[in-house]
Amino acid sequence: MAVISPDNHGLRLATRYAVLILIAVIFIFPLVFMVMSSLKPDQQLLADTSSLRAFLPVGDVSFDNYAKAFQRAPIGLFVFNSVLVTGLTVLLCLLVCSTAGFAFVYLNWRGRDLILSVILATLIVPFETIAIPLLLLVSKLPWIGWDGLTYGWLNSYRVQIIPWVADALTIFLFVQYFKGLPRELIEAARVEGASWFQIYWRVVMPLSGPVLATAAILKFLVMYNQYLWPLIVVQQEQYRPVMVGLQYFFQLNIAWGEVMAYLTMITVPVLAFYLALQRAFIASIASTGVKG
């Protein structure tokens, strides 16, 4: 048997950590650069890129870029729109997809298996391939609102929310999770005369914390980071979300300090949320990989 000397072992351990740290630097440097640059005036920001100063809060550090970014674009409105659209879609999605998952797993009804397989087949249709026909469709859809019956959903909150409420992946996640819950619980509640709604709300939902968290996190990421869809269905500033609002900052001579300030403002809250719930985020992605 080979004798492993402590020195040799220590060296190997150090190499492993060195590799891990080097890779970590590759993943983290653009984000550190973004935050640090948002604090510097343009001239210094550009000068600092030739040294490690680019990643340090040194020199003429201030929040001026943030103040200027607020003057350039109605950032408060964009954030409000994004929070509203993301929040409402996530809530509606949890409700609609969990009830659908409940029906697919616990109830026997005609057409169930066929419909479930059609829904799961939509998993291989990327959104990008239906965006253009969907644009035509929503431009004609009727809506009953304060001003009676109107046609066309362009430039509204609903066009950003309703098409995204139900999706095959979230339904699949609920179906997988519900299959793992003990069926006896549901049958016992049924024998005791509970209605289906009571079983859903009082028995199944209280046991569904993990899948609700997973589905909420995945939907949150998709919705907050929406770009293509709001870009083509919202032309009015009033309804624009943060990612499309970025367009106020690309122009011929980009004021990089302001751009970095805007990027930092719309990214850091999400990163903080991620770091706080890191395990849940990673578990969410991992659960999409569970083979059904």
Binding site: N225, V259, Q278, T288
Partner: protein, 356 residues
């Protein structure tokens, strides 16, 4: 499992209906709508009624021909040469605009290859579409294996039993939660020709020998630059999927391999890899679908340029369907894209099928 207790058509439909109706309206109908629209001349807003045009949109996009051009000769039969000594060829424009060749009308040169003195000129009715098609396929063929492979390496690295390993896992995953739009704009700065971080880094590493490159402004480097950034952003996602696959492999198999004295490579080859079969299919299909959908990076970084070197199918679908309000053109591209996604996922499933 059909128990009397759980049979209820009314309740079943009531619970499932909202989800079914939304998916039908916003995914399934537009999906079939894309096929139907691609056979018409539908525009977003148009005074003229929509007409059925058959496969016209497809032939307008996919028509390709090859012209074989012999060099121009003078009266003595000698090949005419320009100042550099290269043979002079007839102009392609003279052929595509000539009444003698109505079949080539409206086509433009895509690229040419010289075999001997003969120039083989490939002409296409829609050169931008052809470039978008080739770029998209190139992007998929490069990014899918590279990103899948790197993700597996990262997964193996963070699957080690080391103190603090979850910190590294969390860091590698971080770019995934950042919007691709934010990442694209950030990397536009990193790739910038003057004062960009990448040029400065390469110049520092080579002690100033490296000549600054305009990464996104050069047709040869623009698409590779976007590939690199896309992999950086998304690799953590697939690392986590591989990791969940790795964790399903029973530790007793590894113990057995160790007792048998298997090398690290043998352990990977005969224990780890066979256990990752399903994960491999999933990772490849997901990456392929994401790669085919390439849009935001292009929209933020290059808008298809320089010289159409970063045109992609989705960017063209949006440019036509939304930008030019040519819904039928956008729908046609969408159908082509979907058929490619479908065939690639079928091929991947077949290649990785269970052999019994």
């Amino acid at each position: 499992m059909s128990s009397k207790l759980t049979t209820s058509n009314g309740a079943g439909w009531a619970f499932a209906l909202p989800g079914i109706a939304l998916i039908a309206t916003f995914i399934i109908i537009p999906f079939f709508f894309a096929f139907a629209l691609s056979l018409t001349n539908q525009r977003l807003i148009s005074p003229n009624p929509t007409a059925f045009v058959g496969l016209q949109n497809y032939s307008d996009m996919l028509s390709v021909s090859v012209l074989q051009l012999a060099p121009e000769t003078d009266e003595a039969g000698a090949i005419q040469r320009d100042a550099d000594g290269s043979p002079v060829y007839p102009r392609v424009r003279d052929i595509t605009r000539s009444d003698d060749f109505p079949q080539y009308r409206g086509m433009r040169e895509w690229f040419r290859v010289h075999l001997g003195d003969t120039a083989h000129v490939v002409i296409a009715r829609d050169v931008v579409f052809m470039k978008a098609l080739v770029n998209t396929i190139t992007f998929v063929l490069v990014v899918a294996p590279l990103q899948g492979g790197l993700a597996l390496v990262l997964a193996l690295l963070v699957n080690q039993k080391l103190r603090g390993i979850t910190v590294f896992r969390a860091i590698y995953f971080m770019p995934v939660v950042v919007s691709i739009v934010v990442v694209s704009l950030l990397w536009r700065f990193i790739y910038s020709p003057d004062g960009g971080l990448l040029n400065n880094l390469l110049s520092a590493l080579s002690f100033g020998a490296f000549e600054p490159v305009n990464w996104l402004g050069n047709p040869d480097t623009a698409l590779p630059a976007i590939m690199g950034m896309s992999i950086w952003q998304a690799v953590g996602f697939h690392m986590v999927i591989w990791l969940s696959g790795l964790q399903t492999i029973s530790p007793t198999l590894y113990e057995a391999a160790e007792i048998e004295g298997a090398s690290k490579w043998q352990t990977f080859r005969y224990v780890t890899w066979p256990g990752l079969r399903h994960t491999a299919v999933l990772v490849l299909i997901v990456i392929t679908m994401q790669a085919f959908a390439l849009f935001a990076q292009i929209d933020v970084m290059t808008r298809g340029g320089p010289l159409d070197s970063t045109q992609t199918l989705v960017f063209q679908a949006v440019e036509r369907g939304y930008g030019k309000q040519d819904i039928s053109g956008g729908a046609t591209i969408s159908v082509v894209l979907f058929l490619m996604v479908l065939s690639i996922s079928l091929v991947q499933r077949w290649l990785t099928r269970e052999r019994t």
